[in-house]
Symmetry: C2
Subunit: 239 residues, 2 copies
DNA sequence: ACCTGAACACCGTTCAAGT
DNA sequence: ACCTGAACACCGTTCAAGT
């Protein structure tokens, strides 16, 4: 039961802001949001708690920086991903969506953090990053300018929400055999929903069976297809 | 500077769970999530911190209960709202959406809390509540059963995300003159977005001007119309 | 300029003791 | 059964002091 993943290997490199944020992300991944402590972080960086404050204003800023770093990496499509990015805008949107989907799956704390970040300050650095990468594809889709905001927002909110909800199914236990784990959790959700009051929750109970055994990623993409259909339909675009 | 809204007026009614949750919501509204403290809550209830633990397992459960209480109130459409609810399913969806929109606007802490709740436990009580109320309308819309989950999810995530983001524009300062306040904040967001790097953020900058002066509620409903269009288009439903 | 680490104020939670 | 309130362990943050 060695919870502490000590790592005082490399001792003295001057301790930069990047270094701190990187360690914060690692700690977040390892022990979750509650585990991110200035003391634990300091130990991991082989210094005292006070040192961190020289590079970062406080915990709020640290969390924002960690979130931004992960989002930036997720949203920047590697050139290898799609040879020349000569794909359709739809493919581009799917790529961005899956990038965020995977990032949230890899860093479960991201779901809550993204919501906090967006609902706290839309003028921060993380909101524009996501908005821009989706918006460009919306633009390429031929959506008229006055609808750019609506279409991009709809996509962004669905992507963030659905990916976040999905992360709950993955992050229940350790990382061993995530596929098995997920099936178990999905079954649990399905069972819980089927156990709801028949009078109050007829619809949710009816859907419960569908949830079981469905592929997450497929479901996620189906939602995106739905919104894309709405975008093309409402503006009579050709597909 | 009397931040403390003391209220030891009514002293001794046995202190029930409902009472505690109600006081928690009040405190949350007054001082935000960071202000919800077992000590502050106890003071407001004219008891000690330990007493609360007799009725509630801990802070996590308290937050969940507070969220659930507000969501339950928001999602239950008052009979006065729509005489016999003989409206169209579309109207029903808009009603649910606006109910949540208003609730988040009234209780800004709800945005973060909802995301936390959904991404932590989809099998909790709050997710089914929202899912059910939206899903019934989706069902009434004539969506085929295998698409219930996708359509309802898309709507739910958009509603929660967009309403949450919107709350950020409202909750910046005190409650006096929220309309003026909001215009100011919207201008600030717009200005911040226009100040982004032209090379990295061409799309976001282009949209920045649209943001200014647009009606939030109208924007919100436009997004819902978009998703509804997708639903009816993809299943070739008649409107 | 950058780091140290003790100290401060505060928090969630527990629990022996009361009624 | 239900409440009290002191106590515990821990946290974010500060800051005089060091290098």
């Amino acid at each position: 039961m060695a919870t502490r993943t000590r790592r005082p290997e490399r001792r003295q490199e001057p301790l930069s802001r990047e270094h701190i944020v990187g360690a914060a992300v690692e700690l977040l991944d390892a022990v979750g949001e509650d585990g991110l402590t200035f003391r634990a972080l300091a130990e991991r960086l082989a210094t005292g708690p006070g040192a961190i404050y020289w590079h970062v204003r406080g915990k709020t800023e640290l969390l924002a920086a960690a979130t931004d770093a992960v989002v930036a990496a997720a949203v920047t499509i590697e050139p290898a991903e799609s040879a020349e990015s000569a794909d359709s805008p739809q493919d581009g949107i799917r790529a961005v969506a899956l990038g965020l989907f995977d990032a949230i799956e890899e860093h479960p704390w991201l779901a809550t953090q993204l919501a906090t970040q967006l609902s706290r300050s839309p003028w921060g650095t993380v909101a524009p990053r996501i908005f821009e990468s989706i918006g460009r594809q919306v633009c390429a889709l031929g959506v008229p300018e006055e609808s750019w905001f609506t279409a991009t927002s709809a996509l962004m909110h669905y992507i963030l929400g659905a990916a976040g909800q999905n992360a709950a199914n993955t992050a229940s236990a350790g990382t061993a055999r995530p596929d098995v784990d997920r099936a178990v959790v999905l079954d649990a959700v399905s069972a819980a929903w089927e156990g709801l009051d028949p009078d109050d929750y007829p619809f949710t109970r009816a859907v419960a069976k569908q949830v079981r055994g469905h592929d997450d990623r497929e479901q996620f993409l189906a939602g995106i297809a739905l919104i894309l259909a709405g975008i093309t339909a409402i503006h009579s675009l050709t597909t």
